[in-house]
């Protein structure tokens, strides 16, 4: 007789990870990469901002209208909420850092004695920072696939700056987006919306 160990931590982690099967994080990161490439080609940072907000909107709407109706609604416990807050803080600090570096670059300002330049070492250091940020998100979100997306992001960033071409962003973005879309389609097929009354039998 087959027996399965009832491990509460494993149970919670499995339930949490089931919400990431939808591929929406992959779609979001793919769209971010594509927006970076497109805005470089067009030469407008405003387009980048608009596309990034659009990507966030796609993910939020997807979670609300596709994932939750299929997987159900849940409020995870205090420990999971604490991890999510750490991710939110990390993302907030990342955005702040990005804005600060952008401001320094366009105004030629020195930031703590350092001026942003196009040098290889700076590029590699920034790529490493990107990887560390994605690694932190992957760890706290219990979402290992995020590390792969971080690798794609860091590689696209580094090669784009070193080769002075936005094409790497477009290639990486298309690959991650395609993967995310495939996961999304697979998720929708695997988890149809419960039938009438299926959301509430009580």
């Amino acid at each position: 007789m087959k027996t399965t160990k009832l491990d509460l931590k494993h149970l919670e982690r499995t339930a949490w990870r089931s919400y990431h099967q939808d591929g929406l994080w992959d779609v979001f990161i793919g769209l971010l990469l594509l927006s970076a490439g497109v805005s470089s080609i067009v030469g407008s940072d405003w387009i980048n901002l608009v596309l990034m907000l659009g990507a966030a909107g796609v993910m939020a709407l997807g979670k609300h209208f596709v994932t939750v109706p299929r997987m159900g609604a849940v409020q995870f416990g205090a420990e999971r909420k604490a991890k999510n807050r750490k991710v939110a803080l990390l993302l907030f600090l990342t955005v702040l850092l990005g804005v600060a570096l952008y401001a320094a670059a366009v105004t030629n300002l020195e930031v703590l004695g350092w001026q942003p330049d196009q040098g290889t070492l700076t590029t590699l250091a920034m790529s490493l920072v990107i990887l560390v940020i994605f690694g932190g998100i992957a760890y706290w979100l219990d979402f290992p696939r995020m590390l792969l997306m971080g690798l794609a992001f860091a590689a696209a960033f580094a090669t784009s700056r070193l080769l002075d071409t936005p094409v790497t962003f477009l290639v990486a973005g298309a690959a991650v987006l395609a993967w995310g879309a495939a996961l999304f389609v697979s998720f929708v097929r695997r988890y149809p919306v419960p039938g009438p009354g299926g959301g509430d039998e009580r």
């Binding site: 919670e12 089931s18 997987m71 609604a73 416990g77 509430d200």
Partner: protein, 109 residues
């Protein structure tokens, strides 16, 4: 069966178990509700793999025992039910775990 019968003595530890929780499907439900604050019917159905009817039946038993609390609301026109373990339910699961632990710890290697 008298008290000296070894079979009777062997049965004694098991009668202390909460039979409501001891049923595998209900134990799984209690476990999922233990690790979250609250969840709806669809979540439990997806995570446990139970059918709607089966899930509803087990939840009713747990609700009647006071282990699960049910909050009904509406999302637009659709009824929506959130479920959570009561303090009594959490305590019952902890007691069940302790009973199992104590019994199994006494087993020979």
């Amino acid at each position: 069966m008298n008290a000296d019968d070894p079979r009777a003595n062997g049965l004694k530890p098991t009668v202390a178990f909460d039979r409501l929780i001891h049923e595998p499907a209900r134990l799984t439900l209690m476990a999922y509700l233990y690790v979250v604050e609250q969840a709806d019917f669809v979540f439990l159905m997806r995570q446990t793999g139970m059918t709607q009817g089966n899930l509803s039946s087990h939840l009713s038993k747990l609700e009647d025992a006071g282990y699960v609390a049910v909050e009904k609301s509406f999302k637009g026109k659709k009824p929506h039910t959130m479920l959570r373990l009561t303090e009594e339910g959490r305590e019952a699961l902890r007691r069940y775990r302790q009973s199992m632990s104590q019994m199994l710890d006494g087993l020979p290697e």
